[in-house]
Structures are given as structure tokens and as C-alpha cells.
Symmetry: C2
Subunit: 350 residues, 2 copies
């Protein structure tokens, strides 16, 4: 008789970071795919595009001219989902219909003046300057009394709803703490109260011992496929030292964060020899003025590609109605990412 094997048998995994479960179906990786074929991003783009509203010097939808910026460039989103000019207030009917005004700001961060670059093709110093902008924005927005949480993220690739290939990310900062960081905060607080160490410190120690889900490391950061990953090649970027937010990282830790970002995104592009689409973002402490020692800053990458540059994972019927599900194991995904070179395929010697 066979015994239970994570690599072979359907199972549920617990996500210790957000408290939810995930269905893993390792045997299903072999099913044929006859559905939608994605358009891989193989476009070669000019360094400057006169029609791009993010390129230096160009005009945005609201008539404003971008400066002739040479590094990063940050501005208020012209179509922000959050605003800070609305009235306070709420709505309630019979205890079951409940709404409350929400306020905040949306910011756009251009990573580079170059229209044709993405993170994996930028230099370590250029990526470090993106980390610095994230840090400054977190500090400034987080210091506002009307901002309780700052969400920094990037949608990359049309498949992930990105509407402009110019390398950029966003910040949505708001009064209240949204659902995902709220769940992660609750799990981290419970662990902290019980053990006096951050949940991710203890988790990282296990992963460093097990090794099977590690992708890459440097002195201050570790990149791994979390045990509970739901997207096929999902990764978690963790500083070894537990700090609640970017402003508490040392210079060396910020250099290593940039290094981890560069090496990971190069591996991603190399995996299917395509500009790898993803949504990625930082989770940090709420900006309510409390120190939140339970919060261990980290970054998530959620990439949709499953088997090739044209076949993605859909989070649809069962996933929307029941719970997340994956077909390849996190261990297998980590192994694939570990085996990628750290020279970008477009720049590799032939």
C-alpha cells in the first residue's frame, strides 16, 4: 500500500500567513489544454514612445506634461480608485446592508524613463532606486493621519490587467486596512503573542532547513515558493531580519532587496523565455502609528503562467466559489525556478 505523498496525492495545504486553505492536485499537471491561448509578450519596444502617457515629457490624459525625468517618477494617479476630497459618512439598512465612506490616494511610480525596460533588465542601482521610492512613499503616506494602510504593487503584462508596458507600479493608500493585510496581521499577531517571534521568522527557519522550496538567497533576503502558494510560480521575498516596514531596513538590506528582485525577475523571464506577467506587491504594517512588532515585511509575486508563455492558470469557477486550487506542487515550481540561469535570456551570449 502507498503512503500519503505531497508530490503525488491530492491534498489541502494550510496558508499559515492568511489562515486559509488551498487544494493541491499534483496528478492533474498532465491534463491536456484546449482552452484560451495567451498572446506572449514578445514585442520589441522603442526606448521612447511618443504615444505613451508615462514616457518623459509626454502629456497625460489630464493635460499635464511629465517632466523630462531621468530616474524614477511618481505622480498622483489621474484615475485613482481612492480620493481624499469626499465627505465622511455611512449607510446602513437592517443590519445587513453596510457601507462607509473610504478615502485615500492613488500614486503611479514609473520605474525608469526607458519605455522598453522592465525590472529584470534594469541595473542593480536602478532597481535599488525603485526600492528607495517605495520606502519614501511609504514613509510620507504612512505619516498622514488619514492613511491607515499603504499598498504598493505592480501589475505587469496585459494578462494581469496592465494597460501600459512602460515599467511602472502603483500605490493605493487608504484610511482602513484592507482584507488581505488584515488577515495576515491577525495571523502574525497570534503567533507573536504566543512565541515572541514573528511568524515569518519561524517559517523561514523551517524553509531554510527543508530547502525544497528555496529559489535564491543573499545575505539579507530569501526568495522561496511558499508551502501554501496558490499561483503556479508564486514566490515570497523575505528579509531575514524581521522588520515591519521598508523604512526600517538598513542600506545593505535595501541593496539585497534590489538584488533579490533582479535575480528573481530574470529567472521568471527565463522560465518561459517571455516577459513574465505577474501581480506583485509589498505587505507591511498598518500605518496607524503603532509599532506592530508582529509584522514581518515581505513581498508577494503572483504570476499566472502555468506551462508555457501561452498557457495560464485560471482562478475561476471552483476557485471563486470554493477555494484556491493548483495543479503543480510548490516544490516542483521551486525546482524549476532554481534551475534557471541568472543572466537574462535576451542578453545571454549565444
Amino acid at each position: 500500500s502507498t503512503s500519503f505523498d505531497l508530490a503525488q496525492h491530492p491534498h489541502r495545504r494550510y496558508n499559515a500567513l492568511n489562515g486559509e486553505w488551498l487544494l493541491v492536485s499534483p496528478h492533474r499537471a498532465l491534463r491536456p489544454w484546449q482552452g484560451q491561448q495567451e498572446a506572449p509578450d514578445t514585442a520589441s519596444r522603442p526606448a521612447y514612445d511618443a504615444g505613451c502617457y508615462l514616457c518623459p515629457g509626454n502629456v497625460r490624459a489630464n493635460g499635464v506634461h511629465n517632466p523630462a525625468y531621468a530616474g524614477t517618477f511618481v505622480f498622483d494617479n489621474d484615475f485613482a480608485a481612492l480620493r481624499d476630497d469626499g465627505p465622511a459618512g455611512g449607510f446602513e439598512r437592517g443590519g445587513l446592508l453596510r457601507a462607509e465612506a473610504e478615502s485615500g490616494v492613488g500614486r503611479v511610480i514609473c520605474f525608469s524613463p526607458r519605455h522598453d525596460l522592465t525590472l529584470p533588465e534594469m541595473s542593480p542601482a536602478e532597481i535599488r532606486s525603485v526600492v528607495d521610492v517605495w520606502t519614501d512613499e511609504f514613509r510620507t503616506l504612512g505619516a498622514r493621519p488619514d492613511i491607515g494602510y499603504v499598498q504598493i504593487f505592480e501589475n505587469k503584462g496585459q494578462m494581469m490587467g496592465c494597460s501600459n508596458p512602460h515599467p511602472h507600479g502603483q500605490i493605493w493608500a487608504q484610511r482602513t486596512v484592507p482584507g488581505e493585510p488584515e488577515k495576515e496581521g491577525r495571523q502574525q499577531l497570534a503567533h507573536w503573542q504566543q512565541h515572541g517571534r514573528t511568524l515569518l521568522t519561524d517559517y523561514l527557519a523551517i524553509e531554510l532547513a527543508e530547502k525544497s522550496r528555496l529559489v535564491l538567497e543573499n545575505e539579507h533576503w530569501v526568495v522561496l515558493v511558499p508551502f501554501w502558494a496558490s499561483w503556479p510560480f508564486e514566490t515570497l521575498l523575505l528579509p531575514r531580519r524581521p522588520v515591519p516596514d521598508l523604512t526600517q531596513l538598513t542600506e545593505a538590506e535595501k541593496d539585497d532587496f534590489a538584488d533579490a528582485l533582479r535575480r528573481l525577475t530574470i529567472r521568471y523571464d527565463n522560465l518561459f523565455q517571455t516577459s513574465f506577467p505577474y501581480s506583485a506587491g509589498l505587505h507591511q504594517r498598518p500605518t496607524d502609528g503603532q509599532p506592530h512588532p508582529e509584522w514581518h515585511l515581505h513581498m508577494h509575486f503572483f504570476p499566472p503562467l502555468l506551462r508555457s508563455a501561452t498557457v495560464r492558470k485560471f482562478m475561476v469557477g471552483y476557485e471563486l466559489l470554493a477555494n484556491a486550487q493548483r495543479d503543480i506542487t510548490p516544490e516542483w515550481a521551486a525546482e524549476r525556478l532554481r534551475s534557471q540561469p541568472e543572466v537574462h535570456y535576451r542578453h545571454a551570449p549565444a
Copy 2:
């Protein structure tokens, strides 16, 4: 000074059914869209397709021949995410890595032998026979001691990961209760214990009084855009009488469920004059042998299209990292659906 207005100002809404919050940005509906254009499904298909593995008489991937079925046809998924032949067992490391074997079955339900039909183009009697198959499958699977929950759903359209246009849905039935029904069950139980009525009975009474989110009604069912809808044209189908599962509906209630399904899906197709993509599914009581009087059976439709047959809503960066967000209000969406005719655009007299 203006006062807070749900139709104008950014706000958060509480989802009383699953306990989570949603960000609503009504003012954002006007932002221009320069991203991915979807391929609308305007294909005209043959009634029978020799290359389709779901058509009557054809051979499936595993070499089995489909029967020459004339109504609905149900079989075990050849590539099911769940199986019932694996060993029991679990995995644990340091309290933070936790997995357990999961077992179950996957079933595929062909709605019609006709390759070229979808629900909105099927007759009331044909749709009623789909409701009957769902009911029979729920009864049979739910009676198994190894099945604790039965998820019935449909992914329609390539955009929602459907790999074959032949009209069909799926069932994933498993040992444990997945995340979404677990959350809904918790909320419904708390309401039941406090009020002695189902949460959705009280919710429905509010919506029938408010009227602004109603889409259509018949004697036994109501279709509405829930106050907390996150997908642009998301709807909830509710029986007026609270029953925990399909097997407890009367014949007249099942007829009216089919009627509601037909009229809703016709309105969906008419909205953007396209075969409207969606993921949809039923939420019913867990099949643990308990009566679950708190459970009020219902069906969710989660359709991705936002503005037209080619522009969808992406649930990406902010949505994955923070929480769900929508750009048009549920009230506006309900109004659009209410104003659609109930004759399918492909069959309407010119």
C-alpha cells in the same frame, strides 16, 4: 457641502454573506482603457462537432465513447482535481507547514447534446432538466459518507478558463468544506442563532423593499445584484423560501429556478450582444448529515465583462494583495440588467 452618496463617493461595502469588505470607486467608471482587448465570442458553431470530446458518440481523451445522449449527460471527469483512491494522511513541520490528504470526485455535466447552444438559448424544459441533474447529483454525492461538500459550477467562455464551448458544467465534491462555503456558513449560522431566520431571508426582505438592486422575479425566485457584488454584473439567485439544498425544492420551485436562469442569461447575452462569459455556481449546505437550517441555498454568477464585449474587469494587483474593488456601482449594474429585454438578441425579430 455635499453629503455622502453611494452613487458618487468612494466607499467600502460589507459582504454580509461572507464577512469580507469590498472597495467601491463609482467615479472611476470613466477612466479610459488602453489595456487588453478581449476576443468576443461571436463564433457560429455547428450543432454537432466531430472534434468535440463532449458531443454525443464522440471519443474522449481516455478512449471512452460518449453515448448518443439526447438530453443531459454526466460522467466522471477524466482529469479530475479530486480522486477517491488515494491514501489518507497528513504532513506537518513546526506547526507552520500543514497539509492533509483530500479526497473526492469530479463530474462533468453536458447540458445538451447540441454543441451550439448555451443556457440562454435552451428551452425552459431543457434548463429544468439541468436543474434536475444538479439535484440528483447533489443527492447522490451528498449521501456518500466520504463527501462533506458538493460544489456545482459552470465556467462559461474562454475568458473564464473554459476549454470547450460545448455547454457543460462541473461538480467537484470533496471530504471537507472549502473556504467560501465555510465563510458563508459561519455568517449564516451566526444570523440564524441570533434571529431564528436565515440571513438571506432577512436580506431578501430588505432588497424587495429597496428595489434598486432587483433584476427579475418570479413566484418562487428573485435575481438581484447583491449590495456587496464585486464582479461588475455579479448576480445572486435566491429562492424566496429558505431551503438548505436543491433536494428540498418543490417542483414549482425548480421550474421557477429554471425560468430565472433562462431569463437572467438571456439578459446577460443581450447586455453586450455577445455570448456572456461567467463563472457561476450553487452554494448549498455541507453534506455532513446535519440538517443545517441556517443554510439558504443560492446561486452566484461572477461575470468579468465591464464595459463591452471586449473590455473586462481584472482582479489583479490591489485585488489580490488588498481586497476586491469595483468601478461601477451594484445599483447601476442592476439598472442596466433590468432594462434588457428577455428575448435573446440572436432570435429577436429585426
